[in-house]
């Protein structure tokens, strides 16, 4: 099933990219499409971040992940590079888990 997800995701990602190169520019140039395409990734990334921080199955919980994410956000505010943000988040969550 994981392979199905990988192959379907890959095929769709490629076809979207190719489709953009093929369709007449005017189709995607109207204001609504432009705004939606700017806001859609924002909504998805914010939702993914929130759900991955607080959900445990169908429950919402506060656990070591929140400490990790908060540390990651702090690193981000200090303009740390991506890999440092991710590493700080992981290390903080691991430490919080080990301590509780």
């Amino acid at each position: 099933m994981t392979w199905a997800a990988i192959l379907v995701t890959s095929a769709c990602c490629y076809l979207l990219k190719l489709g953009g190169l093929l369709v007449p520019r005017a189709w995607l140039e109207n204001e609504t499409v432009q705004r939606a395409s700017a806001l859609l990734p924002i909504a998805l990334l914010a939702a993914l971040a929130a759900v991955q921080t607080f959900s445990a199955g169908s429950r919402l919980v506060v656990d070591a992940r929140l400490a990790g994410v908060a540390a990651g956000v702090t690193a981000l505010l200090l303009r740390a590079p991506f890999i440092v943000v991710v590493a700080v988040a992981a290390a903080t969550a691991a430490a919080a888990r080990a301590l509780t």
């Binding site: 190169l21 959900s55 992981a90």
Partner: protein, 238 residues
Amino acid sequence: MTAGPDQSGVAEPWTVVRGQVLRTALSVGVATGAYGLSFGALATASGLSVVQACALSVLAFSGGSQFALIGVLAGGGSVASGTASAVLLSARNMVYGARLAKPLGLAGWRRLVGAQFVLDESTAVALGTERRGPAAMRLAFWATGTAVFVLWNLASLIGAVAGNAIGDPRDLGLDAAVPAAFIALLAPRLRDRPAWLTAVAAALVALAVVPFVPGGVPVLVAALVPVAAILVSKGRRG
């Protein structure tokens, strides 16, 4: 393939333009390598095999979508909701492609190969080079696409092998690394008020529906937030 004299009439020696474009492309490629390392490690820690992680990096070659897929699968979401989240997240590439199509003038096999290189990074560097003429823009697109492709995949492989050596990903806090990665991808997009409002609303909507829908679906429900926001603002303007 893309090198050639600058035909735009801008009085800049081509060697200078080429040097600057190639340096930018390489530095962007190196920066995305860091994302690739994180992706590979988190992918195998989330249950993908090394081959699966690398296949996703080569074939999907779309960082945000790849993180979305492994994030949803690791969080217990279904294959369908993981795939849908990943595909929705890469829908913006279609808009990039439409913007790039005419200035790049790709046709035939170049269009089929170039399509895979339509990304945030290659689009940003190509559009940033547009004023220096079409030859510079084509070089920027191909050089950035190639640099990112090579370094992203190399880094994914190294990260995947490292992630595979990890026992329980929770012991290393990798379950917090994934949401932190999403926030790091999100941050540069939070440039104005509508962006912030969309992010906050989408996060709240997704959390609100977590208890009521299967895993993975809350993210898809949140994708309706910008649609609703645009409809409301359109309605207001009449």
